[in-house]
């Protein structure tokens, strides 16, 4: 049996019908997450066995229709038409039957055997809905299985039905629904016309689907089949147009909805008295004219706080562990086998530091994915977009762009990942391109260092100005991109406001885990590679005494003239900026090394033993949990004293003036986002194109702004 080719089961359904929860519940950890080729839409697959039958489950993007107007719809129908799965499982929201049946009816046109998972059935029952599933089976000619993905009921039943239908697929061709005499006449006329003139076309596509798409004048089908719109015999069309007017697409939508509402009226009995539903009551408050925005602000504050405060102790812990005990062990092992010094340095400062710089992002990605998935699954995300759309739309973005941009202030990387909540690919890319202008947490140490030296009287104001500068430039760049790259069709804001639902915890965790893993593997590789590369730049040629003679120093010296007009054309500043591409806070560390090389660290008199190390790992992990809990609960904590960096400060005072330091800070704010952001964009969009554009435009912008600051300041007599 297992030798058999796996049964390909495509899962299709409306957004918010609980499709991904259902798939998570069925396939669990066997899910493999990737992207559909060439697009940013997620593709989930799972291979497993039911009753000895191998099944490959393919999750299709949620969509409302099979028309060619959104990426999700196009992927879904291309897959169904070209890959011809053995079976479709159509996930239908039982509480929203009519609109869901509209897609069901279109899926039936494909002639692929189908099973309906009548999902969210528990909620429909609780509302007092009575659904005659037998009658539905009869009318549609497919099996209908009530399910509840969140409660995990009906799922075994569903998979058993899949196996039993698969045993005899040809006997389960779905029924052909009658679209009314006028349309059917045209369809049969068109079919005989095709059989005479374009016979190969009929071989290529499901018959009824092809005929309907040709009738609708579906641009993509016409193009793919390489036929022109006038393929339709005119006399057939004229008859239809005389009876129903020019709008064939509208006629077809009307016809399909007519069938959907007829069927839903027949099989669904709703209680007479409709109680005021929970969703309605929540929305009265959450979308209230006066309370809507304050509630949104509180929700966003919570999201930000939970994401970053909860994760940062764990990031710190991971950082301390990789740089502490782990490095010590590796040094000990390498020393034990007599490896040369440079190998120890490469492994420690290149490889392990690289791994560490990937790991520190893991907690924040996990935390962000968890809360974003919760916001989406609960239904609040759509409300947040509803509340914010006016403001975001005025700068050319979508209401849902707000959250990724907000997260960008904590760290740009989770911000990039959060753009996946946007449906429209243009909105998604545009938002991701602007996120690097949000001043992230890693840039703060640079500001703090410089502001402390050059603006001791009003440090807060200067940092505030930098944040505002980033936001204003985001508005400006958004406008420019909108007018150049993203010209053309206006993105729409036609969005369902689904009922509030409590997402299942397992589904949340699974989703979070998938994303975290995706980040580790996909983005991790690039980050790691760049870290190792920078190590080589710092340490080659072998045995460099002075940083200025390393490849990094030489590279810094080479590009330094570029920074002459903006006020900091020194090899030191340029080198620090180069290392800042790993993470912007590294600028501070590199400056420390270059300007004020620490005296050779006095060898620590006592290396901790393995036992002590292990104890430290456990104890500090406990400490991380304690810190996470207490930050969230606002318990007082002991502040760690800041390290003294007086040598660096003195050196910087000799190199920078208040004006050039401000130009430098503005440059650090704006110049190319760190490599992690680039890797995240690469992982999310499947191409380097957008990451490359982000790197290029931001660096040019940074230079121009720094130039304006420096030259403008000099012109105003603020001193050079």
């Amino acid at each position: 049996m297992t030798q058999q080719k796996p049964l390909i089961v495509a899962v299709a359904g409306n957004p918010n019908a609980g499709k991904s929860t259902l798939i998570n519940a069925i396939a669990g950890s066997r899910l493999h997450v990737g992207n559909w080729p060439g697009v940013t839409v997620e593709k989930k697959e799972a291979l497993f066995e039911v009753e000895g039958r191998a099944i490959r489950l393919v999750d299709l993007p949620g969509c409302y229709s099979l028309s060619p107007y959104s990426q999700e719809e196009i992927i879904t129908r291309d897959y169904l038409v070209n890959q011809q799965p053995d079976l479709i499982v159509n996930v239908v929201d039982a509480t929203n039957l009519e609109r869901n049946l509209y897609l069901t009816i279109q899926l039936l046109e494909l002639g692929i055997p189908m099973i309906m998972a009548l999902n969210i059935y528990d909620e429909a029952v609780a509302k007092g809905y009575q659904i005659k599933t037998n009658q539905m089976e009869e009318v549609l000619g497919i099996a209908v299985v009530p399910t509840s993905a969140t409660r995990k009921t009906g799922l075994d039943d569903l998979m058993k039905r899949v196996v039993s239908v698969a045993a005899n697929l040809p006997a389960h061709r779905p029924r052909i629904l009658n679209y009314g005499e006028d349309i059917e006449t045209v369809l049969s006329g068109l079919k005989s016309h095709l059989a005479e003139q374009h016979a190969p076309l009929l071989e290529q596509y499901p018959h009824r689907w092809l005929l309907l798409k040709l009738l609708e004048g579906d641009a993509l089908v016409l193009k793919a089949a390489n036929v022109s719109a006038d393929l339709l015999p005119l006399h057939l069309l004229e008859h239809l147009q005389r009876a129903h007017g020019d709008d064939i697409e509208g006629l077809m939508a009307d016809q399909r909805y007519g069938l959907a509402s007829g069927l839903s009226r027949e099989v669904l009995h709703k209680p007479e008295k409709r109680s005021i539903e929970l969703t309605e009551r929540i929305d009265r408050v959450v979308l209230n004219r006066f309370l809507g925005i304050p509630i949104f602000a509180v929700a966003m504050w919570l999201l930000f706080k939970l994401t970053f405060d909860l994760s940062s102790p764990f990031s710190d812990w991971l950082d301390a562990m990789t740089n502490g005990p782990f490095k010590r062990w590796v040094t000990a092992i390498l020393g034990g086998i007599g490896a040369p010094d440079w190998t120890v340095s490469l492994v420690n400062d290149g490889v392990i530091a690289g791994v560490g710089s990937v790991l520190v992002f893991v907690p924040v990605i996990f935390a962000m994915m968890f809360f974003i998935t919760f916001l989406e699954g609960s239904g609040y995300m759509a409300r947040a977009a509803f509340v914010m759309d006016r403001a975001m739309h005025s700068i050319g973005l979508h209401g849902k762009s707000f959250i990724p941009m907000l997260l960008g202030f904590g760290c740009n990387v989770p911000g990039i990942y959060a753009t996946r909540t946007l449906e429209n690919p243009k909105d998604k890319v545009l938002t991701a391109l602007l996120i690097p202008l949000m001043s992230c947490g890693a840039r703060l140490p640079v500001y703090v260092l410089f502001v402390g030296i050059f603006f001791p009287n009003n440090p807060g104001t200067v940092i505030w100005v930098l944040y505002i500068l980033g936001m204003l430039l985001a508005v400006l760049m958004g406008y420019i991109f909108k007018k150049t790259l993203f010209r053309g069709e206006a993105p729409m804001f036609i969005m369902e406001l689904p009922p509030y639902r409590m997402p299942s915890f397992t589904s949340l965790c699974l989703h979070t885990w998938e994303k975290g893993k995706h980040f580790l593997i996909k983005a991790g590789t690039y980050i790691f590679a760049v870290s190792v590369l920078v190590w080589f730049m710092l340490n080659l040629p072998w045995g460099v005494e002075h940083k200025r003679d390393s490849y990094l120093g030489r590279a810094g010296a080479t590009i330094a003239p570029i920074f002459q007009p903006v006020g900091f054309g020194t090899w030191e500043a340029a080198s620090a900026l180069i290392t800042g591409v790993i993470a912007k806070e590294i600028v501070v560390g590199t400056m420390g090394e270059i300007y004020a090389p620490a005296a050779e660290e006095t060898a620590t008199d006592q290396q901790p033993t393995l036992g002590e190390d292990l104890k430290e790992i456990v104890v500090s992990f406990g400490g991380a949990i304690k810190t996470a809990v207490s930050t969230v609960l606002y318990l007082p904590q002991q502040e760690e004293p800041e390290e003294e960096q007086s040598a660096l400060k003195t050196a910087l005072q000799g190199q920078f003036t208040p004006l050039t330091s401000f130009a430098f800070m503005a440059f650090v704010l704006l110049y190319m986002p760190c490599v992690v952001v680039g890797a995240a964009m690469r992982a999310e969009f499947g191409t380097w194109k957008w990451a490359g554009l982000a790197f290029a435009y931001s660096t040019v912008l940074a230079w121009l702004v720094a130039l304006l600051v420096y030259q403008g300041g000099r012109f105003l007599g603020l001193g050079g």
Binding site: E98, R99, H393, L497
Partner: protein, 77 residues
């Protein structure tokens, strides 16, 4: 009269979807916004745009600019 003229709580029958709104038109029809259907304005967002409507038993939000393309006739409940 178009959908953007209705106030929260008011409802109307959809008469026509303006062909000038382009692909949005098909999208709206796919979402159940088709002539003959009853549509009710539920809420207006705190900043005055977009609006929330109910149609075919579920809730949908759209911008006022999009609502302008939907011709309706008010139905007094």
């Amino acid at each position: 009269m178009n959908l953007s003229n209705l106030k929260p709580g008011q409802q109307g029958t959809i008469l026509k979807l303006d062909s000038s709104i382009g692909p949005i038109r098909r999208r709206l029809m796919d979402m159940g916004v088709i002539p003959g259907e009853l549509i009710k304005v539920e809420k207006i967002a705190p900043m005055g745009d977009p609006i929330e409507v109910s149609v075919k038993g579920y809730n949908l939000s759209l911008r006022k600019g999009e609502a302008k393309g939907i011709e309706v006739q008010e139905v007094v409940a």
